[in-house]
């Protein structure tokens, strides 16, 4: 099969789908999107909620998500300034997947940790 309908190959480093996957796979992106799951959040709320993220990384992550059309950014011309972030429709389509991921992570945490200790304590 070699039509122009290239059937996106995730394993090809030049394929766009891989870049999309990279974004999804990003540490902070996942956490940001999940945080925005329950509605609009301000910059400071995000920073507060997501433990360990530096403002540089948070800003960078938000820009990336905004660029990819997953998150919308709304600036209110007030004093003090206020910026709201929310999921776009596209971003919302990603939500079920990330929730599943979250569920898997918490649900299988015990097994993973067990595997780790077993791996670490062996000949």
């Amino acid at each position: 099969m070699e039509s122009k309908d290239v059937e996106p190959n995730l394993y090809d480093r030049n394929c766009g789908s891989r870049q999309v996957l990279d974004r999804i796979g990003d540490r902070w992106s996942v956490l940001v999107v999940l945080t925005l799951a329950d509605g609009v959040k301000r910059y400071s709320e995000l920073a507060q909620r997501i433990d360990g993220v530096s403002q540089k990384m948070l800003t960078q992550t938000l820009r990336g998500l905004e660029r990819d059309g997953l998150v919308s950014r709304t600036v209110h011309a007030t004093v003090p300034p206020r910026v709201d972030y929310a999921l776009t429709d596209l971003g919302r389509t990603l939500l079920p997947l990330l929730s599943s991921l979250q569920a898997w992570a918490t649900g299988h945490l015990a097994e993973v940790e067990a595997a780790r200790t077993q791996y670490d304590t062996r000949p």
Copy 2:
């Protein structure tokens, strides 16, 4: 079900669930697991299939997945040596999620790229 249910907080950097998520979110881990979806693979097969991965990263990724109990590693004492990698039962439970992720990436690729160009070409 027990009283110890601290309800794993993904947003706490010290919570194990976040480390699990980090592993899943890893660039190469996802691709390796997906590659192993259709059965046992040798080291060289993986290296060949996954474009752009260095052997160092491949080895490192495989070790990580093995440690977390997602992938099994079988060494055959032959000459030349032969090492087989396969998903464990635990690893297989992750498969549907990653497939969904893959589907999302390819399915929404166009929208994401559109959003990008729009973002890049604006005041």
